[in-house]
Amino acid sequence: MAEAARIHPLAGRRLALPGLSLEPCPPAERLSLRAGEDALAAIDEALGLALPRRPMASATAGGLAALWLGPDEWLIVADEGAGLAGRLAALTGIAFSAVDLSHRNTAISIDGDKAVLALAAGCPRDLSPAAFPVGACSRTVLGKAEIVLAREAPARFRVECWRSFADYVWNYLVDAAKSA
């Protein structure tokens, strides 16, 4: 029987310039989590991390990252094989929604002193350290694509985008990087 191999949408791409590098992030498990206030305590316990309750906040623990996207919405990212959906499936008696987005999204890591300059070519957000510090995250836009942007280190960002937008976002960032 033929085996279908999964192909990373940005397989083999890489860009390294002085002061800036672009790299596709490895495949990850992702959940879109929607939950009300009353469900959060149980979900915190099941995930082993406290979901951030404040706008733009993120939390990481045990290989998991939880990004606040809206008042009742989080993006949970974990390494492949973390079994996120299984951990939440055991919860009963509370209402919430957890949708697996592992293969809908892909991510790009942009690293270096010029990362902010390159992102600013397409992202209208204020990315100064005061307005968007390490640990901050939000859904926003890059050019014509919607992205989730997270600042993982002073000069390193994770850009999550839909798989079908990956080529567009990658090329946009490459163009921006070359002129940054």
Binding site: P55, M56, L69, G70, P71, E73, P124, R125, D126, A131, S138, R139, T140, V141, E146
Partner: protein, 121 residues
């Protein structure tokens, strides 16, 4: 570019993240199947289209995804105040209205409430 204060994200964000979503505070009549065609037309199609301060729904679609309401000046495009969906229409002071009008200056008071007539960097 306008900066629009999102009451859920609690900060001013670039206009590209937002979508306009029509006039605010339009209540769907109870017993919608029983009302007359004229009443339905008035509810469904007829909008005030005021020249001046308008109350509108906006959606932070490329952000938190939430709908919220805003008071905006339809000539200057300045936002006077934004507030969460479900909250009552705010009373605007004459000072706020004047500041939002064309040629008006955003004051510290309305800047704190999320007014942004100024361009982003």
């Amino acid at each position: 570019m306008l900066l629009i204060h999102c009451p859920y994200c609690e900060e001013a964000r670039p206009e590209l993240e937002f979508r306009h979503a029509g006039e605010a505070h339009i209540a769907r009549p109870a017993g919608i199947a029983e009302i007359s065609d004229e009443a339905f037309e008035a509810y469904f199609f007829i909008r005030d289209n005021t020249k001046g301060i308008v109350f509108e729904r906006w959606r932070h679609i490329h952000g938190c995804g939430r709908f919220f309401n805003a008071a905006r000046h339809s000539v200057s495009d300045r936002f006077v105040v934004t507030y969460r969906a479900g909250e009552p229409k705010p009373e605007l002071s004459g000072e706020q209205v004047a500041a939002a009008a064309p040629g008006g200056k955003a004051t510290p008071a309305n800047a704190a409430a999320g007014v942004n007539g100024k361009a982003a960097r």
